[in-house]
């Protein structure tokens, strides 16, 4: 038939109507909502049986008990373990975010060898033979003592195994990163005799006089401190915080006593002076020139003099001293921030002396002078002549900071090979440029890092470590805790990548080296080694997951040696030049040492600390001439300069610039690295004579409009 306009029109309308009433439209609309609910790129987690497994977190010396929730053996959440003697259910954000470390973009997925300036993956066999070969050369060259070790986080059988390896190898050059643990041991050795350390019974003290100790900033065993601090209110105990800045601890304290940075020792000695003057001290077994000390402090640290130095009113000093002496169970706590970096022995000793004078040694709620005889029982290491010779040798220098300087100073290599375990000195030590230089001076650096961090990048071979969720290890509690608890870290999942427990890597190395070194490490696996050396606490460890090694106040009252303080050592001064003082800030939400923070942790950081890729520094508005809140500024120290943003904070002492630790990482993790600056790039070390501690509590600086 002929299709005229009208019938064509009819057809058209008919078709339209037909489609309109057909289910096509409805079906498509319905489907569309279903598509939008399962985009292929939106993950759908697999469901399954829920189970819980206990372990211990070894990210920091805190060693908290954790409970890992698993779905079909797939870990999905880390939580604090209730009734665990350290943290009783409490847990910090780094521990909770622990699972993110497993899949961290910066993880070292297999052994690596540096080729030129880039790394190439190699097999474990290659890696072991490569390293053992190099080490053999060093040893055969007749200088076994030129193998060094830098390790972080003292204690534990893996660190012990490293030391044992170096003993058998013939080198005394074992260095630990600065830690509260070591600072306290050194203090105890100075005042109460070698082999001791100090624990603070915060759980029972009724007055905690904290000389800047960041009790809720990650000091000591963080969660134990959190628990003690939180229970404080119910016990009607008091916390006085002495600090230049209103830190979280200061904000949470019953009283905040602002003090000029780096003058804590002077205040502590000033308080001692008052106690002695007013005869408020408790005599004890004091020797090493107690009278000389008494004379010196009352002369040099009279309240007026101390006021001039610290900025704390003389009257307040007297009141404070009296309050401390009159309190039932007071305790004084040293260690600014986390008590690891930028500390000095004078301060630690002065504060501990305060405890001694107040008769708080080994008293409930006081300071415990503990002698933690190691629970580890290694069999006698078998030593050959080289080893014997090495064992005789003196350590090249005292501390890791001195080591770095020596490496840089001397023309010919001080160390021919260096192990780095559980530490990131190229990021954590002050003046990182200096540290990286020093690493270049070492011909052969072996890193046992789990992540491609600053130090791993500066090494020649990486023997990647499994994370704490992938390995078995004993972890004793560190710094400042009044009890010693050894926890057992258990593998929650098989290694995700081609990594090993550093203990196993070390045993493989020893076997490859052969001879007495192999004999000294004659275990098939590290797990086997641990079971043997953990000796009598192994059963407890394997059954309960932990063992309490020491608890409660030790017997008797230790003597106190005053010779160090009686000699009135000079207080450390800040280096550099400028009208302001830059001090690092410990922020619980950011890891200051190894390993670096997780994406989750960084996400929680305030925009008043990190803004985009800019670090934000704190200053008192009074100090901020010509600067704008949230505006840009240039921060200059003798070490370098940085473009920063400024945060006006009434809670920081005028004249002081606060910069957070833990930012400015330079490795390959877009969620964590490339944000802000590393405060350690801007601060240079100031070595305290004698102790060898890097005592730089800050550095002089200028801040000007960008």
């Amino acid at each position: 038939m002929k299709i005229d306009r009208r019938s064509f029109l009819g057809l058209g309308l008919g078709a339209a109507a037909g489609i309109a009433v057909s289910p096509v439209g409805v079906k498509l609309t319905d489907d569309s909502s279903i598509w939008t609910q399962n985009w292929p790129w939106t993950p759908v987690p697999e469901d399954g049986e829920i189970s819980y497994e206990n372990s211990v977190c070894s990210l920091c010396p805190g060693s908290c008990g954790i409970s890992v929730r698993k779905i079909k053996n797939r870990p999905v959440k880390i939580e604090g373990l209730d009734e665990y003697p350290v943290n009783d259910g409490g847990i910090c954000l780094h521990g909770i975010a622990g699972l993110q470390y497993l899949y961290d973009p910066a993880r070292v997925k297999s052994p690596m060898r540096k080729n030129g300036d880039r790394f190439e993956p190699i097999s474990w066999d290659e890696a072991i033979s490569l390293v053992s070969g190099k080490l053999a050369d060093v040893r055969d060259s007749g200088a076994p003592h030129t193998l060094g070790l830098i390790s972080g986080g003292a204690g534990g059988s893996v660190t012990a195994l490293f030391k044992r390896f170096l003993d058998a190898f013939g080198s005394p050059n074992v260095y630990a990163m600065p830690s509260l643990e070591d600072n306290l041991s050194l203090t105890a050795a100075t005042l109460h005799g070698a082999g001791n350390t100090i624990g603070f019974d915060l759980e029972n003290a009724d007055l905690v006089l904290s000389f800047g100790a960041g009790l809720i900033e990650g000091w000591g065993s963080p969660m134990a401190c959190f628990k003690a601090n939180s229970a404080r209110r119910d016990r009607h105990a008091k916390l006085y915080q002495i600090e230049p800045r209103l830190s979280n601890t200061a904000a949470n304290a019953d009283r905040w006593i602002p003090i000029k940075p780096g003058t804590e020792a002077d205040l502590a000695l000033g308080l001692c002076a008052v106690l002695l003057k007013k005869n408020l001290f408790t005599p004890g077994e004091f020797f090493g020139g107690f009278n000389r000390f008494a004379a010196v402090v009352q002369k040099e640290y009279a309240p007026e003099k101390v006021e001039a130095v610290t900025g704390v009113k003389a009257a307040d000093i007297e009141k404070l001293a009296v309050a401390f002496a009159k309190a039932k169970m007071p305790v004084a706590v040293p260690g600014k921030g986390r008590g690891d970096h930028g500390q000095n022995l004078k301060e630690f000793a002065a504060v501990q002396t305060l405890n001694a004078l107040a008769g708080r040694l080994n008293k409930e709620g006081g300071a415990f002078v503990m002698n933690p005889d190691s629970y580890l029982a290694f069999p006698e290491a078998s030593m050959d002549d080289a080893a014997e010779a090495g064992a005789g040798q003196e350590k090249s220098v005292g501390s890791v900071n001195e080591l770095v300087d020596t490496l840089n100073a001397s023309a010919k290599p001080v160390l021919n090979a260096l192990f780095v375990y559980n530490a990131n000195p190229c990021y954590t030590l002050r003046d990182t440029k200096r540290v990286k230089e020093a690493f270049k001076k070492v011909p052969f650096v072996v890193s046992f890092s789990s992540f491609m961090d600053e130090t791993a990048m500066a090494s020649d071979v990486i023997l990647p470590a499994s994370t704490f969720l992938e390995r078995l290890e004993d972890v004793p509690t560190g710094g400042g805790l009044a009890k010693t608890v050894v926890g057992l870290t258990r593998p929650m999942v098989n290694p995700i990548f081609d990594t090993k427990n550093p203990g196993d890597a070390l045993i493989l190395l020893a076997q490859a080296m052969g001879g007495t070194i192999a004999e000294s490490c004659a275990w098939d696996t590290y797990d086997e080694c641990l079971e043997e050396v953990a000796g009598d606490i192994w059963d407890a460890l394997s059954e309960d997951g932990y063992a309490v090694v020491s608890e409660g106040a030790p017997m008797g009252t230790p003597g106190t040696d005053f010779s160090f303080l009686a000699s009135n050592p000079a207080s450390v001064q800040a280096g550099g030049n400028g009208d302001l003082l830059l001090v690092p800030i410990d922020n619980i939400r950011l890891a200051g040492t190894a390993p670096a923070s997780t994406p989750f942790a960084v996400k929680t950081v305030s925009d008043r600390v990190l803004s985009g890729t800019d670090i934000v520094v704190e200053i008192n508005p009074e100090t901020a001439k010509g600067l704008k809140d949230c505006g840009y500024a240039v921060l200059i120290t003798s070490q370098g300069k940085a473009r920063v943003k400024v945060n006006f904070n009434e809670g920081i002492m005028p004249g002081v610039i606060g910069m957070v630790k833990g930012l400015g990482h330079t490795f390959d993790n877009p969620y964590v690295a490339g944000k802000g600056v590393n405060v350690n790039d801007l601060i240079g070390p100031v070595i305290e004579p004698g102790s060898g501690m890097d005592a730089a509590f800050g550095i002089k600086a200028t801040l000007s409009k960008a």
């Binding site: 939106t42 929730r69 209103l246 989750f600």
Partner: protein, 285 residues
């Protein structure tokens, strides 16, 4: 809908004097609820944090400055007169967010939400977050995601659910064992994580629960402001923006007056007349 007598009314009291601002609650929440993260999370106005910790200061200058941290989950408003018409639920055009009369929990149905964001405008606490981006995880990291909370898709609103999935698990267990759920069986992820024990969670309707004992909620409307129901009889306890009549189920506690005052807006002189007024009962005589 009628509120049956056995209905729960889950709520929280946060002790701001104990809170240390450590951030454990924030991360515990993120890990528990599959909250995604981006490379730059410093722009807090598009950073998904169901639990956000605010920093408050007393505004005084050095050295009299004081600081307190205020964790802010979804406040799970019961709405004007406690009828379940919370600011967000009443405005959602697609019934994608709902008020559970048996739990007092404000839910969010991600697959129902079409992203109009009206609820976000209506919420004065900024407790609601929009997925501006597709949630993505670094290679392999999605293997830690929990099946109990479905990951969201781009273009929908999400928020704190008081870890509702934990309630479901506890309820199923209790049901099988033919009993009521215990106080400690249902606790939110932020509560269990808090190392300072600053967060206390439970059933505000249950006198046996700690949260009820601390808050002592007043069942009667506040004589001064009839929009307000459930005002705390505890002089140290307050709620955020209580005067608006949102009737939140997250209470805050502090010894410090300036902190309690910071929870709401007051005209000049108003604070001094209301600060000692705590619910109808306490106002009698």
């Amino acid at each position: 809908m009628i509120q049956n007598t056995k209905a729960h009314k889950f709520g929280m009291v946060i002790d701001l004097d104990k809170c240390t601002g450590c951030g454990s609650c924030m991360v515990s929440c993120m890990a528990e609820n599959n909250v995604p993260f981006k490379e730059d999370e410093s722009r807090k106005k598009d950073s998904i944090t169901w639990m956000r910790v605010y920093k408050l200061t007393n505004g005084k200058s050095f050295p009299d400055t004081e600081v307190v941290y205020m964790p802010r989950p979804c406040q799970h408003c019961s709405g004007l007169g406690d009828h379940g018409h919370s600011p967000c639920v009443s405005v959602c055009p697609a019934t994608a967010t709902d008020y559970g009369y048996d739990t007092g929990i404000v839910s969010q149905i991600y697959t129902r939400c079409f992203g109009c964001r009206y609820c976000m405008g209506a919420c004065p606490y900024h407790a609601r977050y929009f997925n501006w981006w597709d949630p993505t995880w670094p290679e392999g990291m999605e293997s830690y995601l929990s099946p109990n909370v479905s990951p969201r898709m781009r273009g929908v609103v999400e928020k704190c659910s008081f870890c509702y999935h934990r309630y479901q698990l506890a309820r199923e267990k209790a049901y099988v064992e033919e009993r009521e759920i215990e106080e400690n069986e249902y606790q939110t992820a932020c509560t269990t994580a808090c190392p300072a024990d600053a967060i206390i969670f439970g059933d505000l309707n249950n006198p046996a629960h700690q949260v009820h004992q601390i808050v002592k909620p007043d069942p009667h409307p506040d004589p001064r402001n009839h929009k307000v129901v459930g005002k705390s009889r505890n002089p140290k306890v307050f709620r955020l923006l209580e005067r608006l009549g949102t009737n939140t189920k997250v209470y805050y506690m502090s010894e410090r007056e300036w902190v309690r005052k910071a929870g709401d807006s007051y005209l000049d002189g108003e604070w001094d007349e209301v600060k000692n007024h705590h619910g109808s009962s306490s106002s009698h005589g």
